[in-house]
């Protein structure tokens, strides 16, 4: 075991690999050892591909020896949420309906990571089809928060967040449809970056709500999140919503500081239901950024209170349509003994989907059904316009918006499972960003008295990820959050 090695950031490790002070095989082996040591408690991984990861590590070491590294991250192991199709490696979206499914191709984001030389250690746990806020709706088992094993790591990318937090891996990819990378990042003291809708290809990523889903990196430092985004922010003709605009160099001005920037604090994000310790930590973070040279002003996003209802109409509606494909015909589970095709569909889906997925399919089907479309789905799409306009209006006056990521710190396993509305409320501060298609980050900004992590959310203009990273980095370098490891 080489724990010091596992505490390094991806970019520090990159330097060591370049100088041959370590090898990808050694580093990958250390990650696998760490998984062996702690994952029976944390349960971040649905499956580990030791053989595949070590083969990729050997290939990386061979390239480094010939000074032919594929990029700065060549040889640095990462993990993938189980939403990403991985050729030849089982992919389930944490659903029984896809148990045993072996994808015939890699998602574009996975292809890009492999093309940059990063070994894929394994597939991480998540809420089934990314529908959830605690990773408890996984059909297989819940993931535990490495900061307190009796609590959830948040969700839906809770496995990726927990794996990164407890040093099983250096970085990971998740997805973020309503906060699924930022919320678990906040609850595990990691850095989660949800890019602008369209910045990263969704090709080969299992669909939940297609107008909201975005591939999102998670890491322990802001610079690592930037480096991961750099690797995957590439136009992809296979995703018609993928942006053809070339990504800037995200590290070029990341150390530039916040002097002269104007940051907005939305008053609607500090209302009912927010934990006072979280409010305190976020307000302190805002004053620190002010001391670092930013101007901080209050802004208003008046339709914030409608975001939750809007999201929980649009996302389930899209999900009910996307998940129609799981019918037992082309892949996945097929119920046996059904009489006729229609019964085969209904029984397959009844046996394959878990309760939260069924709930959202029902809700979405209802919102789209004849007689209710205008009252629910169309109404929600109009609300979406107003929520988006709120941000565009605010960004005329400020460069970015600061808020809490989550109104609560990590909650106990089981605490909210029987109350869907209480679970949905955990995402109240992260949903508006997806509805507006904006980039958003969560970075560590403190701990509660009980020792639970608190996240600061930074939201920016469309395609302004470089500025978000710069703000996040200015805050991060005043602290040592990235050096604090959970007790597990």
């Amino acid at each position: 075991m080489t724990p010091e090695l596992l505490n390094l950031s991806m970019l520090e490790l990159s330097t060591k690999l370049a100088r041959r002070e370590t090898s990808s095989v050694e580093v990958t082996g250390a990650c696998l050892g760490r998984i062996e040591q702690v994952d029976s408690k944390v349960r971040a991984f649905l499956r580990v591909d030791a053989k595949g990861a070590l083969a990729a590590a050997e290939a990386s070491d061979a390239r480094r020896k010939q000074n032919a590294a594929l990029g700065p991250l060549d040889g640095i192991p990462v993990a993938l949420k189980d939403m990403f199709l991985t050729e030849g490696v089982e992919t389930t979206a944490a659903s029984k309906i896809l148990a045993g499914f072996i994808p015939p191709y890699d998602a574009t984001a996975v292809q890009l990571l492999k093309g940059a030389g990063l070994p894929i250690i394994g597939k991480t746990n998540q809420d089934e089809y990314a529908m959830g806020s605690s990773t408890e709706s996984s059909a297989f088992f819940p993931t535990h928060n490495p900061w307190d094993l009796s609590r959830t790591p948040g969700g839906s990318s809770g496995g990726s967040a927990a794996a990164v937090a407890c040093r099983e891996v250096f970085g990971a990819l998740g997805t973020d449809t309503g906060g699924s990378i930022r919320q678990p990042a906040a609850m595990t003291s990691t850095v989660g970056l949800k890019p602008t809708y369209g910045r990263v290809s969704r090709y080969g990523v299992i669909a939940y709500a297609s107008s909201l889903d975005q591939v999102s990196p998670i890491a322990r430092t802001v610079r690592d999140a930037a480096a991961l985004l750099q690797t995957i922010a590439v136009h992809d003709p296979k995703d018609s919503t993928s942006s053809p605009a070339r990504a800037p160099d995200y590290l070029a001005e990341i150390e530039g500081g916040v002097a002269g920037m104007k940051l907005g604090v939305p008053r609607e994000y500090f209302t009912e239901g927010i934990d006072p310790e979280i409010e305190g930590a976020v307000r302190r973070a805002a004053s620190e950024l002010e001391k670092l040279g930013a101007k901080v002003v209050e802004v208003s996003l008046p339709h914030t209170r409608y975001a939750l209802a809007t999201y929980y109409l649009i996302a389930p509606a899209e999900a009910s349509s996307n998940l129609a494909r799981y019918d037992g015909v082309r892949y996945g589970l097929r119920a046996q003994g059904a009489r006729g095709l229609r019964e085969m569909y209904s029984q397959t889906r009844a046996a394959g989907f878990g309760p939260e997925v069924k709930r959202r399919i029902m809700l979405g089907t209802y919102a789209l059904s004849a007689g209710y479309y205008d009252a629910y789905y169309l109404k929600a799409q109009k609300m979406r316009t107003l929520i988006r306009q709120d941000f565009l209006e605010a960004f005329k006056n400020v460069d970015a918006v600061l808020s809490p990521t989550s109104p609560v710190t990590a909650f106990k396993l089981g605490e909210k499972l029987d109350d869907p509305l209480a679970m949905y409320l955990v995402d109240v501060f992260t949903l508006p960003c997806n509805l507006a298609g904006l980039p958003g980050m969560s970075i560590p900004c403190g701990f509660s008295a009980a020792g639970l992590p608190i996240g600061l959310q930074i939201l920016g203009r469309h395609f302004d990820e470089a500025r978000l990273l710069r703000i996040a980095r200015a805050f991060e370098r005043e602290h040592d959050f990235d050096r604090r490891a959970p007790p597990v």
């Binding site: 015939p104 942006s243 939750l308 889906r349 059904s369 799409q381 109009k382 107003l386 904006l438």
Partner: protein, 95 residues
């Protein structure tokens, strides 16, 4: 806002989900509560508001009309629960 059992069964049929009696009752309660919470949207006048289906518009999506190879049928069929030749097999539809 309270859904009737019939409405729940209708939606489940549309969604191709066979639900147990327990599930029907549970979803009737839970969906009613969720839809109740959605009622607050009615307070906002959206008559003059255009709907947004995608928050970030992308243009120029058409590619050249050239033939590119598609996936090998064997690969595409590898996960099929049942197949006949190069087709997916399903239960008989027409007698």
């Amino acid at each position: 806002m309270t859904l009737s059992l019939e409405e729940v069964r209708h939606v489940a049929a549309l969604a191709r989900l066979s639900l147990s009696a327990d599930e029907e009752e549970r979803y009737r309660h839970q969906l009613s509560a969720i839809l109740e919470a959605m009622e607050q949207l009615k307070a906002v006048n959206t008559e003059q508001v255009e709907p947004t289906s995608h928050a970030v518009a992308v243009e120029g999506l058409l590619r050249e009309d050239v033939v590119v190879p598609s996936m090998d049928p064997e690969k595409a069929l590898a996960n099929a629960p049942a197949r006949v030749g190069t087709s997916f097999a399903v239960p008989k539809i027409i007698e």
